[in-house]
Structure formats: C-alpha cells, structure tokens
Subunit: 433 residues, 2 copies
C-alpha cells in the first residue's frame, strides 16, 4: 500500500483523527506544472497532478521525433514515474472539463477533485487563426501523436515519390512546405532538409531525395522574430546553406490536400505541409471565466493569481503576464519552470500566513537550432551563431532532458547520427497503405 | 543518381543496348523476403522488393513494444536502409492487390510490376476463426501499430483504475486476459505480469498494481504445445511463479468490451484482452488462385514452387510445406530465413540452367521466453529451462537483431531494465483521453 489514499485508512481501520492538509491541485504536467509539483515535495500539502496524457514531454525536441531522429520514449517520461518517490503527490490521468471556483472543485470526465490551491498549467496548442479546416492538411506539432503522424507524412512522401510514374506528382511529393518561421518552423525546415540531403540521400533508386524542395514560408519580414536582427540574418544564411528556400513577407491564405496558396496569388504544390505559425492557449480561460488575450491566454497580474481568487494560479503558456519589472514573460520552457516554482513557493508562503509577492522573470538567454553545427544563441550582450551556438544548444537540451537514461540514449543517438548521418527512427506507422 | 532505374538511362540518353537481366520481384520484406533479397546481392538479376510498410520488423520482440520495454525503432529498420548498398535492389512501398501469373505482372495499388521470377513472402496475420468482430476487443500483435495500440490499452487500464471510484470497475480494469498460450501468448502474459508486479508497482497511490490479475486462457490441454511436455511443465511453473493464472482446456466463445465468455459458461470481466490464439496467411493464395490449407497458407511442394509455375516461389508463413525429409516446416523466423535463401539460390541455379531441387529444413532448436530469468529452450537432445534458457534466448535475440545500433541500444535497455526493473517506453499514445 502506498500513499495516503482514503481506501488505505479505511482498510487499516485507524481511529486517529484525519489530519487535513491543504490540497494543491495542478492541472497539466508540462514544464510549469511539473516544476510546481516538485517544488512542493517537502511542503505540508497533498498534491494532485491531473493531465490527460500519461507523460511529461520534453517539447523542445519534439521536432526530432517528427523528423525521425529520436524515438518518442526518448523525450517523454511517465508523469507518475517522475513523481513516484514524492509521497505527497498523486497523479491522475483524466481530462479536465471545468473548474468550479466557488465550490473549489475541478470537474474531470470521471470525478470531481476538491482543492484548496489550484495551479492551472495546461499549456497551449497550435492555432489556425479561424481556419481550423487547415489542420487536416497542415498538422502542427504539440504532442507525441502529432510528431509520429508528421513523421509518417514526411517519410511516406518520399516513398510515394519513389513508386509513382507521374513526373508532376513526383515533384509535388518532393516539395515540403513549413508555415511559420519561429523556432519550431526553423527547426522543422532544417531537419527535413538534413533528412533529405543527407540521411536518406542514398536509399532510393527512382528519385534523388537531394532534389527535394524545402520551403519555409513566413508572413513577417524575417525569421526568428524573437531574436535580434543579426541572429535572424545568421540563421537565414545557415538555413539557405542547408538548401531551405525562404519565402518571407507572404501570408498563407489557403491550405488544401495539394498545397498552399499565398496572398500574392501564387500557388505552391506540395505533398507535405507543416504548421508552425501560431499557438493558442488551452481552454483554461473558459473554465475560469476569466479575461483572455487574443491567443486565449488568461490575463493575470504579476502575482500570477487569478484576479479575485488568490488561491488560483495561472502559469506557463496558459498565462499572459507582465512580471514585476513590466517585462512580458515569453512562452518558453524556462519561463514556465520559473513560474511553476514561484507558484509553489507562494502557496507555501500563504500557508505560513505571508502576503503575496510578484513574479520576476529571469532571462537566461534564448537558443534556436537549425541543423548540424547550425544554431543561434542570444544572451543579451553575448550572441553566437554556427558551431558554438549549436554546441551550447546540444548540451543544454541533453542536460535538461529528464532522467539519466533518456539523457544517455539521446546523447548516444546524436553522436551516432553525427558520425553516420543516419536517423534512427524512420518508421511509417499508423493507418494502412 | 543511383542504380539501374529506367528513368536514369533515359536521362543519360545512352545508346548502348539495354542488357536485360532477369527481374526478381519479392513480395514482403519479413525474414523470408529480406533474406531472399540479400542472397541475390551478387546475382545477375534486378531485385524489386514490395512491402506495404517501410520497415522490416524483428517480430520476435514485438511483445516488448506492446509491454513498454522497447521502442518501435529499436526493433524495426527501414527496408531501403538495409538494402541501400545493394545496387541491384529497389524497394517499393506499395500494397499488392493481385498477381497476373500469365502476363507475369504484380498489380499494386499504384502500378504494374513485371517479373521473371516471383517470391511471395507476405507472411501471416492474426485470425479470429470466423469471429472478426472480436478483433476490436481482443487485438492481436503483428505490426508496430498493433503493439503501440496494445501498449496504450494496457497502460491506460492502470491509469483508469487509479482514477475510478467504482470498486467493481477497478477490479475489472486490473484483470488482463491473454487468449492463446503459444510463444506469443506466454511472452505477453509474462511481460504484463512483470510490468504490473515490478515495473510500475510503486508508481500509483489509489491502486496496487501488484494486485492485478493476469489470466492466460488456452483451449488446448497445455501451454507451448510445440515444445516437449517437460518444457511445457517448466514454462507453466515459471509463469505461475510470476503470478500468471492459467486457464487450460477452455475455449473462448465470446469477446466483448467487458471481457470474455468461456465454453463452460463462465464469464471473466476484463478491461484488456490480448489475442494470441491464431494466425492466418496473407491473401497470397487468392492472388495466386492456388489451393490453401485451413490457415490460408498456399500448399506448395518441397521445391517451394507454385505447382505449374516453376518461376513462382511461396515461402515463410505464407506457405504450407513439407520439406524433402517430409517434415512440416514450422512458421518461425529461422525457417522463413532458410526458405528465403533457398528460393534465391534456386533462382540463381535456374538462370544457370540447373534443375530444381527440394528444400530441406534445418532445425536449430526452439526458444520461448517467459520473463526475467525465465525461458525454455529445446535443442532436441538438450533441453533447458530457467536462467540458462533465458540467457540463450537473450543473446540469440540481440544477436539476430538487424544493425549494430539497434543491437547496442536494445542490449543497453535490457541491462537497464534488469538493474532497475524499469520499462523505458511507457507512453500512452493515439487518440485523446
């Protein structure tokens, strides 16, 4: 028997009075939620983590699964495994339907879960700006299944190109379009280019994968808009060296089974579209009946609390927040982790009767990778691109991967891929062909 | 440009006379088909391998994917990667619809592929003895997607049991039924028992996974019927030590969403059924308009040729054959490999004008694994069970896994799992929850 479940004490039949400890419920086990739970490890509270998936995902490497470099299990770990030894933590795999703020209940598909403190960290998903019908043609990249579905599309395009006897169709199948040139779009375009030009270049007979066209389409004037201009330029040069073609300042006005249409009237025929153009927050604002920004993020004060409900925190990509210094907190993993730890510490302080404080975001820099020996790194005064940035990026990502085992196998797979140019997870799964 | 594809010579525009080499078409890249292709490496033929999947699967370890021990990419390798350096081999990912024996054409979904020699090695799939409606409730285990779907079912059963507040439902969710006690059924039952009793035992709060019931149901009088009686007995003891309950001599008469019904009228409520009770051959007999046995296998003579068509070979699980010594060739990987190499050598001999020979099966022994330090091994005069058999099994399987990289990572994962009792791929994927 483990933990403090009600059935245990019922079974042992003790007459001791139940010591009620504050119940902290955390919605979502991404970077924010998981760091909050872990920061409550020694606190006199009962923690319940609710997530509709059973795994914590190291999302920054998801594009590697989508391009056959890593296996899903290398970047995802069961949430309950991570928290197995934290005696005050319970994990429930369930879908949140609503929150009753007055009765302090989380309503899930299977039950109602009472809380004294609530941390909402349900993250974001890709958004199509009112064109949800595009999702079927241009899938995004947020969970494992997205990544394996994209992997299947990308690899199957080469396979179909090898089989077909129709030249136009072959050209269409060998054209890949990535929409949106933020970090995810840049990573995907670079990784598809490396897959085509190096990883599988010698494996076909009727096609030459090196002839594949990889287009990166961006509505804004430059790629990686969150980076300084000089690093955008450097990233652009590195992408072009990999053979990626940039289409800048062009909005996509249609996605369909045969390709995309651009605002200027051009059509690009393509067999594989990847959506990396935008995200919107989970439905948390609806559950909390709270005001949200255009991306659906709950607007919270620098104390990360829901206005009027000092026991409810909103963190990570679910929150739109300016910190104590007036800085808009970015939607990246380090920010979510910091907010998770902050919310946990505020709960501990609140139990001790201390007043609320404001969150201050610490900016440790910004990294984006493009491909083999190609990346950009922005640490304010220090900026790097190329090999040094790529080494920084590689070590940072392996380091932050949860669990020794995954760290080791990812490291091994990367060394192997570096030496052989091979990608280890080239499997077309799902559906029949 | 690579290889000898027609488009290449068209592009280079050479006027040299086309040297027509015999075209060997191989349907299916399992153990039989792949070994046939590789045995033709230096032969003066053009080889085309057609498979509807892009990977060769090391099927004997598929149960490890279904029970979260290994990742799909560790036991599957792209077919075209394996054959990348074999200049006379082309791989097409396509679905075979029919064979035109008179015009010597394979008809696929996308094209017609002419052949001079044909090797049919399309394998087998699970069979429900006329109850195909059972498949939705009791899925089998033949391809990667079967394994990841089963993994999701097994892991989700524990997750749902943790969340539910209904005691009867919890008991049902913690009951696992494996139907059929051949090697696959024994492996599955043993692996589910190890997962529940060791791998995840400490990760839950409201349930104790060690209380899970794992039932192995078999219509025949004993498990592992293809092994000598003494090894069946040994395997049975090892399974029972792992906590698996055996239900022998009981046919399943119904499978539904809530469990199974047995012939004697008993019902077993269960949240997870696994089908390991039977296979049937692929539709090859239909394509070839050839007589088949009860399991759908094409009946061929000891020369492995389709009667009346000396240029058409049927091998592996697709064939029902008694070899030159009158021994029924078993449906296992080593037999398929031998038949693949035999067919390739017969084609080489035929090109040289030599007469057909008969196939002789070489029995190198029979292995089945049950769990940690538990297995049985039958080498005729020498029989082993327990630790020695398990070590033999482990080394044989790591050895035969294709590719150094997979061999290394599987080996590492096993050592890791052995030391920590952890299973590395506990991901619930596919569908939303």
């Amino acid at each position: 028997m483990h933990g403090m479940a009600p059935s245990d004490s019922a079974k042992t039949g003790t007459l001791a009075p139940t010591i009620t400890r504050p119940r902290v419920v955390i919605l979502g086990a991404g970077f924010g939620g998981l760091n909050a739970a872990q920061a409550l490890r020694s606190a006199p509270v009962d923690v319940t983590v609710i997530d509709r998936r059973n795994y914590h995902l190291f999302q920054p490497l998801l594009y590697q699964v989508a391009t056959a470099g890593l296996s899903p299990a290398q970047i995802a770990t069961p949430i309950r495994r991570i928290l197995a030894r934290q005696k005050n933590a319970t994990v429930l795999m369930d879908r949140v339907l609503d929150v009753d703020l007055e009765r302090r209940l989380v309503i899930t598909r299977q039950r109602e879960v009472p809380y004294d403190y609530l941390i909402v960290a349900t993250g974001a998903r890709h958004a199509y700006f009112g064109h949800d019908e595009w999702e079927a043609f241009a899938p995004g990249l947020k969970k494992i299944d997205d990544a394996t579905a994209l992997r299947t599309r990308i690899l199957a395009a080469f396979e179909r190109a090898e089989v077909t006897e129709d030249e136009a169709e072959r050209k269409r199948l060998l054209t890949f379009v990535v929409i949106g040139a933020g970090p995810t779009g840049v990573e995907m375009a670079g990784a598809i280019a490396e897959l085509a030009k190096m990883g599988i270049a010698r494996d076909f007979r009727n096609i030459d994968p090196r002839q594949a066209e990889i287009l990166l389409v961006e509505a804004g004037p430059r790629i990686l808009a969150s980076f300084p201009d000089s690093l955008s330029q450097a990233a652009q040069r590195q992408l072009e060296r990999l053979g990626v073609k940039l289409v800048l300042g062009e909005a996509v006005v249609a996605c369909d089974a045969d390709g995309i249409a651009l605002k200027d009237g051009r059509r690009i025929d393509s067999g594989t579209l990847v959506w990396a153009a935008g995200v919107e927050a989970s439905p948390a604002a609806k559950w909390l009946k709270a005001p949200a920004d255009r991306a659906g993020r709950v607007i919270v004060a620098p104390d990360l609390r829901l206005p009027g409900y000092p026991n409810v925190f909103v963190i990570g990509d679910t929150a739109a927040v300016k910190d104590a210094a007036g800085i808009a907190v970015p939607g990246i993993a380090p920010a979510a982790k910091q907010m998770g730890r902050f919310a946990a510490n505020e709960i501990i302080a609140s139990i001790k009767g201390k007043p609320p404080r404001d969150f201050t975001y610490r900016d440790y820099g910004n990294l984006a990778t493009i491909g083999r020996k190609a990346a950009v790194a922005d640490f304010g005064r220090f900026r790097f691109s190329g090999l040094i940035a790529w080494l920084l990026w590689s070590f940072a990502h392996v380091w932050f991967l949860i669990g020794f085992r995954n760290r080791f196998t990812v490291f091994f797979d990367w060394i192997w891929a570096y030496v052989t140019y091979q990608r280890g997870a080239r499997l077309i799964t799902g559906g029949e062909n």
